[in-house]
């Protein structure tokens, strides 16, 4: 109050009153927020003190708070490991391929489903496309091994047509594509559900009017379907980019093998291997988590900024 630049008490009082009035006017909004905020406070911020482990060496008897500070040693350990950088490179490459190809595929699928004139056929095909989501990667990996192994169906066909057997699963050139296509196969149908829901909210009379105006199928997609989906697609795209450090932990873990570590080892599997094959260091895994979080957040915010500039629309 002694600082000169501060507004006079009277004006402050007015602002405070205005603020209180604003809060009271929105009281039901705050009420709606309470359960969610409670959840975040208890289950997300409650354990948040664990973040300090990134700069500590954990000791069971001392607990998180009592453990010894080690400065930046955990980060320093990571940054000098060649495997860590290899894992980062792979994570970015694989996630990049996913964003470029696996991300748009369900959108395309949804648009195509929407173009099927026969409602029964459309429903059945859509349901079928969600089936693989229910197969866990553990189960799926054995199916993939049977398909693409040296004695697998695909190789048998290759041989039958006079070709040379290919070691699909142990080839550094092929492995990432295998990851990508198995992901598209497994999750596209499932992700289509969201886009189908979005399309179903588009005003159907728009289509009718466009048809009467003589718009062809392609024009309808471009001028009606796509604009109707755009804001949701933007949101999911920004969210996916903001998860760039995640490239499919369980998928890689179940499908890879030492022959393709060089191209397939991602951050999460790297952590899995360094923590479960040696004495685990909670400090190091927390440090990796921090690192991932910072990169992800930075990319999310950049994607948000780019999107705002391009389309005037973002996630936040």
């Amino acid at each position: 109050m002694t600082v000169k630049a501060q507004p006079s008490p009277a004006r402050k009082g007015v602002r405070l009153r205005r603020l209180l009035r604003e809060i009271w006017r929105n009281r039901f909004m705050y009420l709606l927020l309470v359960p969610g905020l409670l959840y975040f406070a208890v289950f997300c911020y409650g354990p948040m003190y664990g973040i300090q482990l990134a700069w500590k060496e954990f000791a069971a008897n001392a607990g998180v708070v009592g453990s010894r500070w080690v400065g930046w040693a955990n980060f320093a350990f990571l940054f000098k490991e060649a495997e860590f950088w290899n894992a980062i490179r792979n994570t970015l490459t694989i996630a990049g391929m996913q964003i470029a190809l696996a991300f748009p595929f369900p959108i395309l699928l949804a648009i195509l489903f929407n173009e099927v004139w026969q409602p029964g056929l459309k429903r059945v095909m859509q349901i079928v496309s969600t089936f693989p989501h229910f197969l866990s990667w553990v189960i799926l990996s054995s199916i993939i091994f049977n398909l693409f192994g040296n004695a697998g169906t695909v190789n048998n066909m290759v041989v039958a047509f006079g070709g040379q057997k290919l070691n699909f699963l142990m080839s550094k050139e092929i492995f990432r594509w295998l990851l990508l296509f198995s992901l598209i196969w497994k999750e596209s149908g499932w992700n289509t559900i969201l886009y189908m829901a979005t399309i179903s909210s588009i005003d159907q009379s728009l289509y009718e009017a466009a048809t009467i105006d003589g718009a062809n199928r392609f024009q309808r997609i471009v001028h009606i379907t796509w604009p109707g989906m755009q804001s949701i697609v933007t949101a999911t795209f920004i969210l996916r980019v903001g998860m760039i450090m995640n490239a499919g932990y369980m998928q890689v873990l179940t499908l890879y093998n030492p022959s393709v570590y060089e191209v397939g080892d991602i951050l999460d599997t790297y952590i899995y291997r360094i923590t479960f094959q040696k004495a685990p260091k909670y400090g190091i895994s927390t440090a990796v988590g921090m690192f991932k979080g910072v990169v992800n957040a930075a990319l999310m915010l950049s994607a948000e900024a780019v999107s705002r500039r391009l389309s005037g629309e973002g996630l936040l």
Binding site: F58, A60, F145, M170, N257, P258, S259
Partner: protein, 564 residues
């Protein structure tokens, strides 16, 4: 209209959830109170007589928590009731799956929420963590006079081949009871060995008397399997040699030539420890494996980590290198019999003794125990004493009969000093009996107290021929083979660099698999040497620790040439 429907849907969901919440409440409440009333309980008299615990010591009903695999099939059977009544105890089993055994132990200990009795797969990789936890005061020490107070535990700890209790002793006290393996009579020899299709060997005309093969003969045999397809599987389907991923590619020439497996990662040479991976024998072995892989004699999909036994059982594989104790041999033979009724599995499949490329026949010693039990630091003396009483009894003869057969008078009887199993007649084999209890129902007893030697309690549910074959293999290897003793000193040393980098076994086999499958034969040596050089920075500090901290490095055993 739509809002009405939404409301109806919401109403339905709410009713349903209330209903389900109602179901949840009662099942959540009663079991949570685990602590038995201890008010006014006097400290029990120390029982002087081991297994014959005095009635006084067992007077109070106690509840203990303990983690175990396959918990869902245990805790509700006649054996469990018998045991609980005998020791006036309730053991609450905390489920834990095998895959998460390390993770769960770590979480429990780190968050101060460990069960009263914590079973751990406490191998040399976990040992540094164990020693750490002991020093941090997380565990309760076993009594110093355990061997005198509990005679059966004492007998087990007194065995010359059992060094488990010494290993687990930290700063003068024992904090973990190691559950020893069931074959001390064979010096804990590992079951790792080849089994092969003898009928196929005869069909391709390369069978050798006594199933004894030189390396070249065995390779030629497997090549013939792949090329001639004696099982009639069709072109490209028959597999020569395969192994469990854990042994890949060591099984194909490395195990037989270098000192790799027995000594762990580090082996003595000229009075000093060296990194076994960097020895020239390892490279020689790797070259052999590479040659076999390129020639298609090794199962091409082996590096993907699928079970070789399944291929063997399906009649697709000629030779399988695995931990073939009598149980595994039995299961393979049973499956062969079921899948191919026309063949006699006892004739068609057997162990093969394969002499290495350098003329030596190796076998390997395992660690003397598998798994160990720690007591929570918070465990009361009464509860600790009760656990030790139970353990001591489980290690007695009576306890061993109980663990293998079941309840006296019901599942077995002893007349004139001879033991008879009373299990019902098997429906598959005329001269065998069938275990009336569901499988895995004995997991807790076995994991917590160890194996039982078949010489003490005969196995009545496995065909006699299989038991005889398995024992004959152990005996032959013990007499004729060259046993690599397990080197506890280097494996269990806990030192800063070694604890941080581990023992490099995973890095080694990962690299071997990569080179085997992705580079050409003439690049192999260069790539291998480059990799060794790149690893030196990490390996050397560990070697320095080993050589400075281990007083007497064992003398290197000169491989002895095999004489049939």
């Amino acid at each position: 209209m739509t809002s009405k429907r939404a409301c109806r849907l919401l109403g339905l969901i709410l009713t349903l959830s209330l209903l389900l919440a109602g179901c949840q409440a009662p099942s959540g409440a009663p079991e949570s109170g685990t602590a038995a009333p201890t008010a006014g309980a006097a400290t029990p008299e120390p029982n002087t007589n081991g297994s014959e615990a005095s009635a006084d010591a067992l007077a109070e009903h106690l509840t203990l928590t303990a983690n175990v695999r396959n918990a869902e099939v245990q805790g509700a059977d006649a054996l469990w009731d018998y045991f609980a009544e005998k020791f006036n105890v309730t053991i609450e089993l905390i489920p834990m799956s095998f895959n998460e055994r390390h993770e769960k132990a770590r979480i429990w200990v780190s968050s101060g929420d460990m069960p009263d009795l914590l079973w751990m797969d406490l191998d040399e990789k976990m040992f540094a963590e164990y020693a750490n936890w002991v020093r941090q005061g997380m565990f309760k020490a076993y009594p110093a006079d355990i061997a005198e107070k509990y005679p059966n535990i004492g007998t087990e700890y007194g065995l010359e081949v059992n060094v488990g209790d010494e290993l687990m002793t930290i700063d003068g006290a024992l904090y973990a009871h190691p559950a020893i393996r069931g074959n001390p009579e064979y010096d804990f020899m590992s079951g790792m060995s080849w089994v092969y299709r003898r009928d196929w060997a005869k069909a391709v005309g390369l069978y050798k008397e006594g199933d004894l093969y030189t390396w070249d003969e065995f390779v030629a045999l497997n090549e013939a399997f792949v090329k001639q397809d004696p099982g009639g599987n069709g072109p490209g389907k028959t597999i020569g040699m395969g192994t469990e991923i854990f042994y890949f590619p060591h099984a194909f020439g490395i195990y037989q030539t270098s000192a790799e497996f027995g000594y762990g990662s580090f082996s003595p040479k000229d009075g000093k420890y060296v990194w076994t991976t960097a020895r020239h024998e390892t490279l020689e072995g790797l070259k052999i494996a590479k040659d076999l892989y390129d020639r298609g004699i090794i199962w091409p999909d082996n590096p993907l980590g699928q079970a070789p036994d399944d291929q063997f059982k399906a009649g697709l594989m000629g030779s399988d290198f695995n931990n073939f104790d009598q149980g595994r041999l039995d299961s393979c033979r049973k499956a062969l019999q079921e899948n191919f009724p026309e063949i006699d599995p006892f004739e068609a499949m057997d162990y093969a003794f394969v002499v290495g490329p350098d003329g030596t026949l190796w076998c390997k010693q395992s660690q003397c125990y598998w798994g160990a039990v720690c007591m929570s630091a918070k465990l009361s003396d009464e509860k600790a004493a009760r656990w030790l009483t139970m353990l001591d009894w489980m290690l007695s003869d009576e306890g061993k009969y109980f663990r293998m057969y079941g309840i006296p008078g019901k599942d077995y009887s002893i007349e004139n000093g001879s033991l008879t199993c009373l299990w019902p007649q098997s429906e598959i084999y005329a001269d065998l009996q069938a275990d009336p209890y569901p499988q895995n129902v004995r997991q807790w007893y076995m994991d917590y107290s160890g194996g039982v030697s078949a010489q003490v309690v005969p196995n009545v549910s496995t065909p006699k021929q299989t038991i005889a074959d398995a024992n004959a293999k152990f005996q032959y290897l013990k007499d004729k083979g060259f046993m690599r003793a397990f080197d506890y000193a280097s494996s269990y040393l806990s030192a800063p660099s070694k604890d941080a980098s581990g023992n490099f076994t995973t890095e080694t086999s990962d690299k071997m698999i990569e080179l085997l499958t992705t580079v050409s034969a003439d690049q192999l040596e260069t790539e291998w040497t480059n990799w060794l050089a790149s690893m030196e920075e990490k390996v050397q500090p560990v070697l320095d620790e080993l050589n400075s901290m281990i007083a007497d490095v064992p003398t290197e055993a000169a491989p002895k040439v095999f004489v049939p």
